[in-house]
Every structure is written in structure tokens, then in C-alpha cells.
């Protein structure tokens, strides 16, 4: 059986990571742990011209760092992530692969000029974490708008969906 290791990619708040372990373990029915030791310094992935972090570079580095680890790796950062052709991404994952990365840069209410809401931020981060890890388990986007695998390009869509896999996605996950 697989496992999930959550690792901080600076800049990152460790407290948020700790609160992800239990719900993620419940979602994928696998052991989930937060990595001990120094977090990964994300500065190597910073792109000066875009003022953002390259999610692809972070994924490559995590793959290298956890080469010998069995199971999945989830990097969590507060840095704003991008892929070359898109203005931003909430996260990125290797489809049916090992590594995923999520950013909570755009998940907080303060990013949109509203008062900070830590509960809401935590709930959005959990949904995006389940979503990206779902991809590493081979799940694709789901048309059920309540399913956590539903594609979201804005926080409004994240807030509509639940942090649970729908019955179809659960079935697909169990068949893998």
C-alpha cells in the first residue's frame, strides 16, 4: 500500500501542513506524514520576470530529493505558482506519478482584499491537496461539481465543491 509524505516548500507555514494529515489519510486510506527536518527552499524555482515560482521546477526538485521514497509526495508552499503558458496555477501534479505541489498563495481571502479567514484557507488548501494527490493516483477531472476532483480555476469553484471524492472517483481509486 502507498503512503503520502507532505513536505513544506518555503515560503510555507508548517501549522497548515499538520492539519492536512488526518483528512488526507481518510480520503486516500493511506498513512500520511509531514516530513521532518528542513523544508525545501523554494527560491531556486523563483522566476524574476514573472515574480512567481515554477511548479515544474519544484516538482523536479522534489522528485530528486525523494528519489528513494516509496509513495507519494505533496509539496505545500505559499509561493505563487505558474506554468509557462498560464498566468497561475493552484497546484500541479504528475498524473499517475509520484509528486504533486499545491500553493495557498491565492487561497486566502486576504489575496482578494477581504479579511483573512484561516478556517476557509485551511478548507481550500485541503480540497486542492486532495485534488492534486488525486491526480497522482490517476484520477482525472470530474464533471460532478461537488466532487473534489472537479476542476477549479477560481476560489469560488473551490468553495462550491466538497473535500470528498464522489462515488465514481472513489470507485476508480479503489480499482487502481
Amino acid at each position: 500500500m502507498s503512503s503520502v509524505l507532505i513536505t513544506a516548500v518555503t515560503p510555507s507555514d508548517r501549522r497548515l501542513l499538520d492539519r492536512l494529515t488526518a483528512p488526507l489519510a481518510k480520503s486516500f486510506v493511506v498513512p500520511v506524514n509531514v516530513a521532518f527536518g528542513e523544508p525545501l527552499d523554494g527560491s531556486f524555482a523563483f522566476n524574476l520576470s514573472r515574480n512567481q515560482f515554477s511548479s515544474m521546477a519544484i516538482i523536479s526538485k522534489l522528485l530528486e530529493r525523494y528519489e528513494d521514497l516509496e509513495g507519494k509526495v505533496l509539496g505545500v508552499t505559499s509561493g505563487d505558482l505558474f506554468v509557462p503558458v498560464l498566468t497561475y496555477v493552484f497546484g500541479e501534479a504528475q498524473l499517475e506519478g509520484k509528486v504533486a505541489v499545491v500553493s495557498y498563495h491565492r487561497l486566502g481571502e486576504d489575496f482578494y482584499g477581504l479579511p483573512a479567514d484561516e478556517e476557509l484557507l485551511q478548507s481550500r488548501l485541503l480540497k486542492e491537496s486532495v485534488h492534486e494527490l488525486g491526480h497522482t493516483f490517476g484520477l482525472l477531472h470530474c464533471s460532478n461539481y461537488l466532487c473534489v476532483m472537479h476542476s477549479s480555476t477560481g476560489v469560488e469553484e473551490i468553495d462550491i465543491k466538497t473535500d470528498k471524492l464522489c462515488a465514481d472517483c472513489r470507485k476508480k481509486l479503489s480499482e487502481r
Binding site: 506554468v83 509557462p84 503558458v85 496555477v89
Partner: protein, 453 residues
């Protein structure tokens, strides 16, 4: 699994930058799309040929061949694919050019993920609608397709071939043949195979419309143009806009009408009766006649200039008696047709009856044969049509292939006169006794010049 892959919409990403191809490819794979990537124009063209791809994301700046030219080449392979141009910031001019040349939309790098998702969804929705539209047009075309011309003879195969060939052009066609040979069916075949098929085919039987009404029938009239013209009415030429006008029995129109017709066919413009406005209409002319127009020109009853205007491409349909090998398949066709219409089981035809049918002179050609089969289908008892179910017997039919001149005509004329006399010229009862319909009887009375005593 492979079948599922085929069902998924396909997105082809054409970009020379690996990171762009990779990130877009990943993005769309997570959405469950079938994704292909090409790093240059040649690879894009190869993948396009292996397609189909529903949406193509095409970088406008590529080494070798630029995106605009590649767009053109991709469209040549699949006109239906939606192309979304991906441009660098500030390349709006080329993007506008791409739109003018048929791109679905364009995006500027880097693109907002939400925008990209909606754009691709819209492109797919539009493509689905246009595919559906195409499919429905095909279906409509099949459903509204004309009745098939039945015939195994070389002469009829040639007629069908000529009709299909001329259909591709806008050439005026004259169809010649005896009454009942299927001139209107050939006209409909031409229309159905032409690019005008989604527009109407309007039939005008010039011989059936009284001379005084023909002008308003063809050109329409304004309100108050003549007594009884209470409303403005469109004429047949106006109704045929975009389609075909079939002028049947063209040989019967008056000299005055011939002049007007010539002008309309040449200019495609006319005025309604009682009106002043010049109306233009885009129509194709197909006409038909069973008259010897050359003789009519010689005796001055048909204008030579109109003849040459109409007689650009002629299709001659041979009479049924000159292609007897077509009779058995026609008989089968009509038996099936009337079995369906009358909700009866399909019937056989016994050899004796078929022999009679093949040897008959068929003055009224295929129309007469159809009437005979319809009548036989009413009378015959399953499982087969017998000779007794036919309205003529062996003695009345010409023997073998030796033509007997007008003897059958003469017999028909005498027999009709006898029956009319018997029923005191009651047309309905006489037609019933003769086994033909009233219209046919009227035409025979007129053809044989029979007069009520």
C-alpha cells in the same frame, strides 16, 4: 479503454517551446482530453493527417512556417477543426489576421487558466453544433432525396449519369421524352444532386396553367394588378430563389410568354404583374417538353432564340417500349411501392402476367405502367398478380417485338369511344370501367380527338 480514448475530444498543441507543450498537455490530460503535441509545422501536419483533432492550439510564431500559413494548411486537412491561436503579448495584429482567416479565437501568453478552460469548452461546443448541423443536413438530404430512377438499360444508365454530371453545374437543362417517361423525376434528380439542393425546386406545368394566368403564376402580382388580385403574391421565379425552377411542357407556351421568359432567363430579373420594382432571383432552369420543338420553330410557333437559350444541355429519355429490359425492375419497384402504400404483403407476379407487361406497347410509358400495377395491386389476390388482373389481354398486346404501327392506338381509341358511349359520356363511370383515372381518360379523349355526339 481504446474505445474510450476515441470518444474523448482531441486537442492538438502546436508550439516550439517544450515547456509550453508540456504544461498545456498536462493541463488538458487532467481534464480527460486526448492530447497530441507537435514541436513544428511538419509534425503538426503529420498528426493532423492522423487526426481527427477537435481543437488545435497553435503558436503564431514558429520557426520554419509561421502560424498563419500553418493554420491554412491545417484547415485544408480538416475544415471543421477549431483553431485557437496562441500569441505572445503584443502580437495582436497577427492574431486579428488569424481570426480573419478562420481561427476560432486567440489567447495571449500567459493565459488565465479560467479563460483557457472556457475558451476550449466554447470551441468544442461550437464544433459539436456545427458537426451536428452537418449530420442533420446529410440526414435531411437523404430523407428528402428523390425517388430513385429505376432502370437497368444502358439508355437509362446514361440518362442518370448525364443528370448527375450536369447537376454539378448551373447549366440550363432541357429534358425531352414522351409523356410519362419520368422527365420530372430526372429534373428532381438534377436538383437533388446540385449545390442548390437545400433550396426549393419549383415546378410549373406550363401546359396546365391557362395562358392568362401563367404570367402572374411565374412572375407574381401586386395587389390590385387585376380583378381578383386581392393580395400581393410571389411568382414561381421568386419562390425558386437559390434553387431550381422546373418548367414542364415548355413547348406549350404562347409567343408573348416566350419573349418574357427569354428575357427573365437571360437577366434573372423581372417585375411582378402590376408592379414597377425590378426583382432579382437566383435560379437554375430545367425545362421539359414532349413536343418536337424543331418542328415548332419551323412552323413559327416556337421562338428560335428561346430554343437556343433553353437547349444548352439536352437529356433525352427513351420511351419504355425502346427499353423493355427496364420493365421487370420497374414492375418490382411499383409492386413494392404499392404494397407499402396499401399496407399489403409484397406480391409476386406470375410469368404470364409479366410476359404481357413486357410485350405491351406502353403508349403512356412508365406512368401508364405504374397505373396498371396500382390497379393490379387492388384487384389481385395474394400471393401473385395474374394476367387476369391486368387491364389488357394477350390479344390486345402487340406480338413479339414487331411493331404494329398505330393499331393499338386505334384499338384504344375505339374501345374508349365504345365505353364512353356505353356510359353516355359519364367520365367517372367510364374511367372506372376502363380502369384508369379521370385525368388519364380526359387526356386520352383529347389525344384521340373524341367528341361527345
Amino acid at each position: 479503454m481504446i474505445e474510450n480514448q476515441k470518444m474523448k475530444p482531441g486537442i492538438l498543441i502546436v508550439d516550439d517551446e517544450l515547456s509550453v507543450r508540456d504544461s498545456l498537455s498536462k493541463w488538458f490530460k487532467e481534464d480527460g482530453y486526448r492530447v497530441g503535441t507537435a514541436e513544428n509545422a511538419n509534425r503538426a501536419l503529420t498528426l493532423m493527417n492522423e487526426g481527427p483533432w477537435d481543437v488545435i492550439l497553435l503558436d503564431i510564431k514558429m520557426p520554419g512556417m509561421d502560424g498563419l500559413e500553418l493554420q491554412m494548411r491545417l484547415k485544408e486537412i480538416d475544415r471543421g477543426a477549431s483553431i485557437i491561436m496562441v500569441t505572445a503579448f503584443g502580437a495582436v495584429d497577427s492574431a486579428v489576421q488569424a481570426l480573419k482567416e478562420g481561427a476560432f479565437d486567440y489567447v495571449t501568453k500567459p493565459v488565465d487558466p479560467e479563460h483557457l478552460t472556457h475558451l476550449v469548452e466554447n470551441a468544442l461546443r461550437t464544433k459539436k453544433l456545427s458537426d451536428e448541423n452537418w449530420r442533420l443536413r446529410q440526414q435531411m438530404s437523404e430523407l428528402s432525396g428523390v425517388e430513385e430512377i429505376v432502370g437497368v438499360s444502358l439508355q437509362m444508365k446514361k440518362v442518370v449519369d448525364l443528370a448527375r454530371i450536369v447537376a454539378q453545374t448551373d447549366t440550363t437543362v432541357m429534358i425531352r421524352g414522351e409523356s410519362g417517361t419520368g422527365k420530372e423525376m430526372v429534373a428532381r434528380t438534377i436538383h437533388a444532386n446540385s449545390s442548390r439542393r437545400y433550396f426549393p425546386i419549383i415546378t410549373v406545368n406550363c401546359g396546365a396553367v391557362p395562358e392568362t394566368l401563367l404570367e402572374s403564376e411565374l412572375f407574381g402580382h401586386e395587389k390590385g394588378a387585376f380583378t381578383g388580385a386581392q393580395y400581393r403574391r410571389k411568382g414561381k421565379f421568386e419562390m425558386a430563389e437559390g434553387g431550381t425552377i422546373f418548367l414542364d411542357e415548355i413547348g406549350t407556351i404562347s409567343q408573348k410568354m416566350q419573349v418574357q421568359l427569354l428575357r427573365v432567363i437571360e437577366t434573372k430579373q423581372f417585375t411582378r404583374v402590376g408592379g414597377n420594382d425590378l426583382i432579382s432571383s437566383d435560379f437554375r432552369v430545367v425545362c421539359a417538353t414532349n413536343r418536337n420543338l424543331e418542328a415548332a420553330i419551323a412552323d413559327g410557333s416556337f421562338r428560335e432564340d428561346l430554343y437556343y437559350r433553353l437547349n444548352v444541355f439536352t437529356i433525352s429519355i427513351p420511351p419504355l417500349r425502346e427499353r423493355r429490359e427496364d420493365i421487370p425492375p420497374l414492375v418490382d419497384h411499383f409492386i413494392k411501392k404499392y404494397a407499402t402504400l396499401m399496407n399489403k404483403p409484397a406480391m409476386e407476379i406470375n410469368p404470364e402476367a409479366m410476359d404481357l407487361l413486357v410485350r405491351n406497347r406502353w403508349q403512356g410509358n412508365v406512368r401508364e405502367l405504374e397505373n396498371v400495377i396500382e390497379r393490379a395491386m387492388v384487384l389481385a389476390k395474394p400471393p401473385a398478380i395474374r394476367a387476369e388482373d391486368l387491364p389488357f389481354q394477350l390479344s390486345q398486346v402487340q406480338s413479339g417485338s414487331a411493331p404494329t404501327g398505330d393499331s393499338l392506338n386505334e384499338m384504344e381509341k375505339l374501345h374508349i369511344a365504345k365505353i364512353l358511349g356505353k356510359f353516355n359520356w359519364n367520365i367517372t363511370r367510364s374511367a372506372q370501367a376502363l380502369g384508369i383515372d379521370r385525368v388519364t381518360l380526359y387526356s386520352k379523349i383529347s389525344r384521340y380527338g373524341l367528341k361527345k355526339p
